[in-house]
Amino acid sequence: MYAAEFDYVRASSIEEAISLKAENDDSSLLAGGHSLIPAMKLRLSTPQKLIDISGLDQLKKISKNGSHISIGSLCTHKQCAESEIIQSNCPALSDAASVIGDPHVRTKGTIGGALAHSDPQADYPGATLALNATFVAKGPSGERTIEVDDYFIGLWETALGEGELLTEIRIAINSMNANSCYVKFPQPASRYPYVGCGVSLSSNNGTCSDIRVGFSGVGEWAFRDSGVESTLKGQPLNDSTIASAADKAAEGKTVLNDHFVSEEYRRAMSKVYAKRAMMQLS
């Protein structure tokens, strides 16, 4: 398909991007373009102006910053997948980044773009929920942080304000995040997850002292699964307790049901993949 007509401008600083966004009601920020451009080609998205932020190099760094890891929002999936800092401190994120799309997508697509777009079928949301990530947003009224638990609020919807630019993803450096993973059951065509499950887990003498579980692809938007978490927390880690916890997966949640995959199957696979993730960490 061919996109509807639009204007294009390249921002040379974060501040310029924010003011351009404020000046143009019907505009979209362009990062890697791997969700936005296809949507524009299908004319599902018809912004009048594209504000290209892909040249903002200060948003392309991954670093340790005291108590947390700082990931610039324009880091590509490839960068996130290959970063030793991420691999050793929050492997759920590098796991997720490494199974997004294909090498083309991973080379161009960015973590900030994916998280701002908040496709219910995307991989990062489940992983960032498990990692208790913090998002940094800059807008006309300055900078603020948004906790991941408050970030995914609806289908294609996030807590980012209309004029805000997601600049950074922060992940705390702790033993729980270092013991994390993301597992995925991909749809064979798109390779979006039927089920994507991120888990971080800490244990003390074989007992689960804390756990966070996030699901992508299962519901209309990514969610944290407190049913699974509370069932395992405080329990000794073994096959049987993990199976009981996994059995709670997606309980009470609205689960997607489409032409290709039934709700029943997605629920069942949520349990399987929750179990696999928890087994991997215990």
Binding site: M1, Y2, A4, E5, L42, R43, D102, F185, Q187, P188, A189, S190, Y192, H259, F260, V261, S262, Y265, A268, M269, V272
Partner: protein, 788 residues
């Protein structure tokens, strides 16, 4: 045979492909060229009440907007292959539909603008008023009483009812059989997805009333003939059709599509060159699909595993209108293959070709033969399963034996064609040696007790390639509205450099290389001295194009035969130059020499030079070495082989992993092993994909649900294990090269091997049949239902 035939000579095509120098249709730009975009129907079945083009017409850069009414004088597309000997209630598309649409995505209007984006913008401003009609998408539903009716001339939506074999005899044999297995087998709809979608460019010169047309085409001569003689009623000499580099077809670029003719008509109307190039989304909706059969089988057998009878009733979904050769696919290319490699004594096949509110279905790699092979190879497993016998034993018991060739299948199902040559146990035994079947069965038993589900599937297939003898397939025979011979011309230029032109129209197969190998070997010249030219009606002899695994067996043989004519003339001229009698000279290694005196010789270059100059020629001979041959095959060729697939099923998810795939094919003599292996690799990938992933699906309102690569699962390399290939060689007596054809082998053979493997793996759950695609959800469902 020679220096090049049988060798993996590197492909002549590849340097320009890998450097990007190859020009495809969308690379072509002509000064003054305009762009056309087609407005497509949003509904699967609807009357067109009104099309408001006023806003679109006023958009910037728009030259005009046209609807079907503007092309009432253009004939509908021809259906060039109607099933033989019976009535076909044919309904074919028009360049733009006028009153009614019968599937989502049919063209109803066209915008022509100065550039593509402007045309797209204007197209989105066309307002169409529809009156929705009830929709039917499944062929089985379409023939039920009370179903929505698509066409006045096709009561109950039936295009044609065709049969072959002996129904009474088969029924009798079934009732006398020790066991009868009945099953419904579904061969789902597939969407070809050639890498390059379809496109067309047309230019019209009013002074000479001549068209030049570039098409994504597998058969430029056929496209020209159909467009000129059948659609526009103009001499075919007034149109030149060029297929530039064509990015794959798998059959879908054989056909004459409405958009091709639309662009031709517009070029004349507007007087400027026009390009139309479809998007991937349009390709999904409006390019032809393949397969879509629902089949009831009954197979009878004795207790010892001897199959006594096979009865097949198929409902074939042809889509909303007929594509160019649609009726020929589920009839001739399907029913006539139903004996497989087996001596079934009684066979019957009845086929109903049915209209539904879905995209057109026509030939897709294998075309009818994968569907037939699926029926036969599943039937063998069903019988083995019923009798508790081994699937290999049942196959061996029913094989046609190597001393029975040429073999004529029972009940006249091949309508006079006989299997040319074969030894079916040979590739099976070779494959079993590579595989170690006994050990696998032990491992399978052991792993089941550990909750791992392994399965093995066999396909000991046959196919008919090298289509086809003209009188057999043509009008009065199988109904193909033309011949199916092929042509080649050889010219040896003054310096001894050779140009081969062919009516074949390769688009990825490597035929440019293999034809050069044949010509170089036969003439005794270096490979690099032979150029092969094709894909342009100007400069190539008329030919029927590339499909049906025919370009080596039929096109290659035309090259071989043309070379023989050149050699005959070279012998006469060489003898004349050597002052010898033509009876006293021989042609060897690129030289004509006096028998017994190899030193007294003239090279083909010297002879070509003398022929081109024409200063001194034998009496009665004309200058130049320039010969044309037309080869009409006396039979199709009958490749065969054994494919073995091993799968592992994950009980928790139902996911299938292909663990091992090996194929021992017998495609006759092999011109280029690398090219042959490449064809088999790609074919297997497509066939495995049908078994496990791909499916063209419509919802009840006729919307294509698998209308993009997000939902339609084409396999990627990580979906397949390393393919283990080997071959046996049983030359075909049908042509002097002894080749059988290989383009479709992989897709024909592989699908049932995979499905048989999955069913084998699921045996502990009591599963005997599942219909494709065998998605993880489908398998998980049956595992849940039947318990562990």
């Amino acid at each position: 045979m020679g220096k090049y035939i049988g060798e993996s000579v590197l492909r002549k095509e590849d340097p320009r492909m890998v450097t990007g120098e190859a020009k495809y249709l969308d690379d072509i730009k002509i000064p003054g060229m305009l762009y056309a975009v087609v407005k497509r129907s949003d509904y699967a079945h609807a009357k067109i009440k009104n099309i408001d083009t006023s806003e679109a017409t006023k958009m910037p850069g728009v030259l005009g907007v046209w609807t079907g009414k503007d092309f009432e004088d253009v004939n509908p597309m021809p259906c060039a292959w109607q099933a033989g000997g019976i009535t076909n209630n044919a309904n074919t598309p028009r360049v733009l539909e006028i009153d009614k649409v019968t599937f989502t995505g049919q063209g109803i209007a066209v915008v022509v603008a100065e550039d593509r984006n402007l045309a797209e913008d204007a197209c989105s401003k066309i307002n169409v008023e529809y009156e929705e009609l009830p929709v039917v998408v499944s062929a089985e539903d379409a023939i039920k009483p009370g179903a929505p009716q698509l066409h006045e001339n096709a009561p109950n939506n039936i295009c044609m009812e065709w049969e072959c074999g002996n129904e009474d005899g088969t029924d009798k044999a079934l009732s006398n059989s020790d066991v009868v297995v009945k099953e419904q087998l579904v061969n789902q709809r597939l969407i070809p997805n050639s890498m390059e979608p379809r496109g067309a460019i047309a230019e019209y010169k009013s002074a000479t009333e001549e068209f030049t047309v570039w098409l994504t085409s597998q058969a430029p001569h056929v496209h020209r003939l159909l467009a000129t003689a059948f659609v526009f009623g103009i001499p075919e000499t007034k149109m030149r059709v060029i297929a530039p580099h064509v990015g794959g077809g798998f059959g879908c670029k054989i056909f004459l599509y409405p958009e091709y003719c639309l662009v031709i008509a517009l070029a004349k109307k507007i007087g400027r060159p026009i390009k139309w190039m479809e998007t991937r989304s349009e390709n999904f909706q409006a390019t032809t699909h393949g397969r879509d059969h629902s089949t009831q089988i009954q197979v009878g057998a004795s207790n010892d595993g001897t199959i006594t009878s096979l009865k097949v009733n198929t409902v074939a979904n042809l889509g909303g209108t007929l594509s160019t050769i649609a009726p020929g696919i589920p009839t001739t290319l399907y029913g006539r293959l139903l004996s497989g490699t087996y001596k079934f004594p009684n066979i019957y096949c009845g086929v109903k070709g049915v209209y539904t509110n879905t995209g057109m279905v026509d030939a897709y790699r294998g075309a009818g033969r994968p569907e037939a092979t699926y029926v036969v190879e599943r039937a063998l497993d069903l019988v083995a399963n019923k009798l508790g016998m081994d699937v290999v034993d049942v196959r061996k018991k029913n094989f046609i034996q190597k001393d029975q060739f040429p073999y004529t299948p029972a009940d006249g199902i091949t309508k006079g064609l006989e299997y040319d040559s074969g030894d079916y146990e040979k590739p099976l035994n070779k494959a079993l040696e590579m595989f170690n079947y006994t050990q696998f069965r032990e491992e399978q038993k052991k792993s089941r007790s550990e909750g791992k589900y392994l399965g093995v599937g066999f396909s000991t297939y046959i196919e008919a390639c090298g289509v086809a003898p003209s009188a057999w397939v043509g009008v009065g025979g199988e109904g193909w509205g033309a011949g199916l011979w092929e042509s080649a011309n050889i010219r040896v230029h003054l310096t001894g450099k050779v140009v081969v032109t062919t009516g074949s129209s390769p688009h990825g197969q490597g035929t440019e290389t293999t034809m050069a190998q044949i010509a170089a070997d036969e003439l005794g010249l270096p490979f690099d001295d032979v150029d092969v030219q094709y894909n342009d009606t100007l400069g190539t002899p008329f030919g029927y194009g590339t499909y049906g695994s025919r370009s080596a067996a039929v096109g290659g043989t035309a090259v071989f035969n043309a070379v023989q004519k050149v050699k005959q003339k070279a012998l006469r001229i060489g003898a004349h130059m050597l002052e010898a009698s033509a009876d006293d000279v021989v042609y060897e290694d690129g030289k004509v020499s006096v028998k017994g005196s190899p030193d007294q010789a003239k090279t083909i270059q010297e002879i070509a030079g003398a022929a081109a100059l024409g200063y001194s020629l034998p009496e009665g001979d004309e200058p130049f070495l320039d010969e044309t041959a037309y080869f009409d095959p006396p039979n199709t060729t009958w490749p065969f082989g054994t494919h073995i697939c091993v799968v592992e099923i994950e009980e928790e998810t139902g996911s299938v992993k292909v663990k091992k795939y090996l194929a021992v094919d017998d495609v006759g003599n092999v011109v280029n092993p690398m090219v042959v292996d490449g064809q088999i690799h790609g074919g297997i990938a497509q066939g495995v994909a049908q078994a496990l992933w791909e499916s063209g699906e419509y919802n009840e309102s006729g919307e294509l649900m698998s209308g993009s690569l997000i939902d339609y699962a084409i396999p990627r390399t990580d979906c397949l294990p390393n393919l283990e290939l080997d071959r046996t060689v049983t030359p075909s007596p049908t042509n002097p090269l002894g080749v059988k054809g290989v383009g479709e082998t992989g897709t024909i053979a592989s699908t049932p091997a995979v499905v048989n493997a999955v069913i084998d793996a699921l045996a502990p759950f009591g599963v005997t049949n599942l219909n494709m695609p065998l998605t993880s959800q489908k398998i998980w469902n049956v595992i849940q239902k039947k318990g562990g």
